[in-house]
Amino acid sequence: MMAIIPATWDMYDMFQAVIQAPAYHLIFEALLIIWIFKLMFSKAYAPNKTILTEKEKEELIQEWQPEPLVPDVPDDHPVLQAMNNNIISGRPDKVMVINGKSVVNMASLNFLGLLGDESIEAAAQKALSKYGVGSCGPRGFYGTMDVHLELEERLAKFMNCEEAILYSYGFATIASAIPAYSKRGDVIFVDEGVCFAIQKGLIASRSVIKYFKHNDMDDLERLCIEQQKEDKRVPKKAKVTRRFLVVEGLYAKHGDICPLPKLVEMKWKYKLRIFVEESFSFGVLGDTGRGVTEHYGINIDEIDLMAACLENAIGGAGGFCCGKKYIVDHQRLSGLGYCFSASLPPMLASGAIQSLNIIIDDPGMFGKLRNNCTLIHEKLSKIEGMRVVGDPVAPIKHFSLSEPSDDRDLDNRSLEKITQEAMQRGLALTPARYLEHEEHNLPLPSIRIAVNVKLTEEEIDTCINIVADSCQAVLSKSS
């Protein structure tokens, strides 16, 4: 009865109500008021907090022993030894000099052979005499040189995009691009086999990461449908959750190409934004080297952002992102590797411009590269006891044991022995190195063979024979 006070109740009526209320009610209310006062003035509840004396504090400080900053590394660690023994003198060209010995180089990622090109070096030297070596500042503070602007314009024109943005380090390109767009609460669908740089970008973005099985579109579909169900459940949240799809054009860890047409279909079906990382496919795939979009004949406008590094096929330094102006411009203020780092040294940017000129002038080299890749793939698959994974047109081949054992260390050691045997016979190879405890999805141990467009058929034959001999030497010893 007294529960709800109507709006029209006024002072007189209230006074009347108090007088007319039953006694038990008034006593109950009085007790409640006394209880409130008691609570207000009594001490707050504090669980038993131990207060240490000064002496105890000093003792704790004396006692505490931290772990050593870094664990001990034995001097004969195989990777350390490999690094110390394989120091190159001179240019790591198709034929290079290691420890005074001349070997054929199938380890450097010099796919188009631009490493030894004289016109690139001449362009770099010309820029050196104009700008010096370093750019002495980030892009915002007098570090923007006209060569940077020219390179960005040329890259955008080459890729038929509205705008490109240049970074000074290949790894930092995709690792800064992803956190610039994807924040806490957004969802990123990413292929399991992506490279380490993308993995670091994903961690830095603090978004929800959903890995799907490598190149498995059904798995991706399943994750998207799950996300759709979640969206239907909480539509308000779905309206502000951005969804991204991150893939690589050519996977560095597996050597195969992503199914881009199907991915673009998924993009329109489930409203995802695609970021393609083309470090190994830019300057390699496609009739004119424009990457995986040209390889499949897809319009570049379907891709929201394309990132690539200039350190592999192009033989320069740094990396770039390209896409529509409204997307790429955002990175100029929020890409950490762009705003807070010094810009690319101008002579390296000049070298990259010259590389682009060479690629545009001679599109025939891509056909030649593809021929070399397919040839090497065929020949490698014929070697006994070993197998090649990846696409035949990929310029990196992952060459591994056809029957891997359960012990990764054992396999690693066999592969090291194979590379050492090959080195003695005049061929430089390297096992693919990974940070084994940090990688999300560790592939099997393998030797990473890089194809160079400048290799002639005879040279390829010689090299493959050396590989076959080394494998036989090591595998027959162990078996």
């Binding site: 505490w64 120091i87 490493l115 690139i120 050196l128 002495c136 892009r139 502000v240 033989g315 190195r433």
Partner: protein
């Protein structure tokens, strides 16, 4: 009212604690002087009014745009049906309405070597900052106080240039492979040992990008279960690196040793929060010279605290290596300390050596571990050869190995320039932050409008400076920043001071109410 809250002569309480016992013989505190004057109340009030007005006008423009009366000319995101917008409207509000108005003071294109004088290209906007047009043929030469060129090695002539040129021919411009995968050239090995000798440590290794040196190597040192104590004004690369480690991060007040000691004590005594298990490691992350404040870290105090509480120190000397100390070896040399006391010495080659990239120096055990587990050893190429050669030549000059005293001349010239420039600015009554010996000089402007005015007026008079505002600095502390260089002669500095005085009188920058400090440049002997 002069904004003064400290009773001593304007010296900011920089953590010097009169209660802690510090029993070294040469008390470094006698020579340590820095100032961070309080913001005058009127300046702060007007700054807020400025921002408020700009934000209000921005909202009105957006409102009119929604109504269709006014076309907000921007590369706005097109609405694609079904897709969630990429940028939230608040995020782009600041860029569209506040930053865009003053965007002509940033990213000014340069078309020559960034030495003591730099040639810039004219850039015109016809639509109030939405887009720019480059006028490639209109160039002007300005006095360069904006580039990081502390020892003046940014040159396109001379021994460094000759060496870099021949290396480009001999080695090419990129090694195309990572350190663990056949990317190590003999000059890289030479550089590693020279850097170690320069710093006075056992071993060192190099990374092609300074930012990446921090973000790729910190995760190899600490992990979950460790504690990182980082200064509140640390650089973005240190913040990103700390986040990527997965460890717990706590900040302490900028350069305040009492705040740091309190945090250390709490950490060691109480352990991890909630479980109270002891921390695995504690890493103190600080910089040698802070480029936005101009302050120098109290390194002797940090070493004392580190020894007492058994923590590890990570020192980022991006702005101090080459620029500080009687031999140019950084802030450790400046205080005369032992480099072996610092666990991880990190720095960059961009600022004082005229090159690019970073390095980490320490014990052989540390460097071997980093060579095996660093992300850059495995996943990205090693330094480009011409850049390596530039570092080799410049470092040899600083060490005096080329047989001349050019290195010492540059170091002394820089130290003299710092004192002379700072003393003169203090005398003229501007608010300058930082230590008397730091080569970075921030001059406080306070209002965002003065930021644009200062930069544009200086550019009209051919002086290139850097201006920084919110959000890189606190909202009331917009500043102009001058980077001194050994390439600047006394005449260059006098010219700059004249221009600054002219502009300062025009836009009224004499905010300082403190007495003029008594340091000067006379105790530094220049080598002619």
């Amino acid at each position: 009212m002069n904004g003064l809250i400290h009773k001593t002569n304007g010296v900011h309480k920089n953590g010097k604690s009169h209660k802690t016992m510090y029993t070294e013989e040469t008390d470094w505190r006698k020579d340590y002087w820095e100032s961070f004057e309080e913001t005058p109340l009127l300046a702060a009030v007007f700054t807020y009014i400025c921002y408020g007005l700009v934000v209000l006008i921005g909202h009105i423009r957006d409102f009119l745009n929604d109504l269709g009366l006014l076309k907000v000319n921007a590369c706005l995101e097109p609405r694609i049906p079904g897709f969630v917008p990429l940028f939230s409207t608040w995020e782009s509000f600041y860029t569209r309405h506040v930053f865009r108005r003053v965007s002509d003071v940033l990213s000014i294109p340069v078309c020559g070597v960034p030495a003591a004088r730099v040639e810039i290209m004219k850039r015109v906007t016809h639509n109030y900052g939405w887009s720019y047009e480059l006028h490639k043929d209109e160039r002007s030469t300005m006095l360069n106080f904006g580039s990081y060129n502390y020892l003046g090695f940014s040159q396109n002539k001379g021994p460094c240039y000759d060496a870099a040129k021949s290396v480009t021919h001999k080695y090419g411009i990129t090694p195309c492979a990572s350190r663990q995968e056949m990317g190590l050239l003999d000059i890289h090995a030479e550089l590693d040992s020279l850097v170690a000798e320069f710093l006075g440590v056992e071993a060192a290794f190099t990374v092609p990008m300074g930012f990446a040196t921090n973000s790729m190597n910190m995760p190899c040192l600490v992990s979950k279960g460790c504690l990182i104590l980082s200064d509140e004004l640390n650089h973005a690369s240190l913040v990103l690196g700390s986040r990527l480690t997965g460890a717990t991060i706590k900040t302490f007040k900028h350069n305040n040793m009492q705040s740091l000691e309190k945090r250390l004590k709490d950490a060691v005594i109480n352990g991890q929060p909630r479980t109270h298990r002891p921390w695995k490691k504690i890493l103190i992350v600080v910089e040698g010279v802070y480029s936005m404040e101009g302050s120098i870290i109290c390194l002797p105090e940090i070493i004392r605290l580190k020894k007492k509480y058994k923590a590890y120190v990570y020192l980022d000397e991006a702005h101090s290596v080459g620029a500080m100390g009687p031999h140019g070896r950084g802030v450790v040399d400046y205080f005369g300390l032992d480099p072996k006391d610092i666990d991880v010495m990190m720095g960059t080659f961009t600022k004082s050596f005229g090159a690019a990239g970073g390095y980490i120096g320490g014990t052989k055990k540390l460097i071997n571990h980093l060579k095996l587990t660093s992300h850059c050893s495995v996943y990205s190429p090693t330094m480009p050869p011409p850049v390596v050669q530039q570092v080799l030549s410049s470092m040899k000059i600083i060490l005096g190995k080329d047989g001349t005293n050019d290195g010492q001349r540059r170091i002394k010239q820089l130290a003299w320039n710092c004192r002379y420039f700072r003393r003169n600015l203090h005398e003229r009554g501007y608010i300058i932050y930082g230590n008397k010996d730091s080569p970075v000089v921030p001059l406080l402007l306070f209002m965002p409008t003065k930021l644009a005015a200062f930069s544009r007026e200086c550019r009209k008079r051919d002086l290139a400076t850097v201006v920084v505002g919110f959000p890189a600095t606190p909202i009331t502390k917009t500043r102009a920043r001058f980077c001194l260089s050994a390439a600047h002669t006394k005449e260059d500095i006098d010219e700059a001071l004249k221009i600054i005085e002219e502009v300062g009188d025009l836009i009224r920058l004499r905010y300082s109410r403190l007495p003029v400090p008594d340091f000067n440049e006379n105790d530094i002997e220049l080598i002619r």
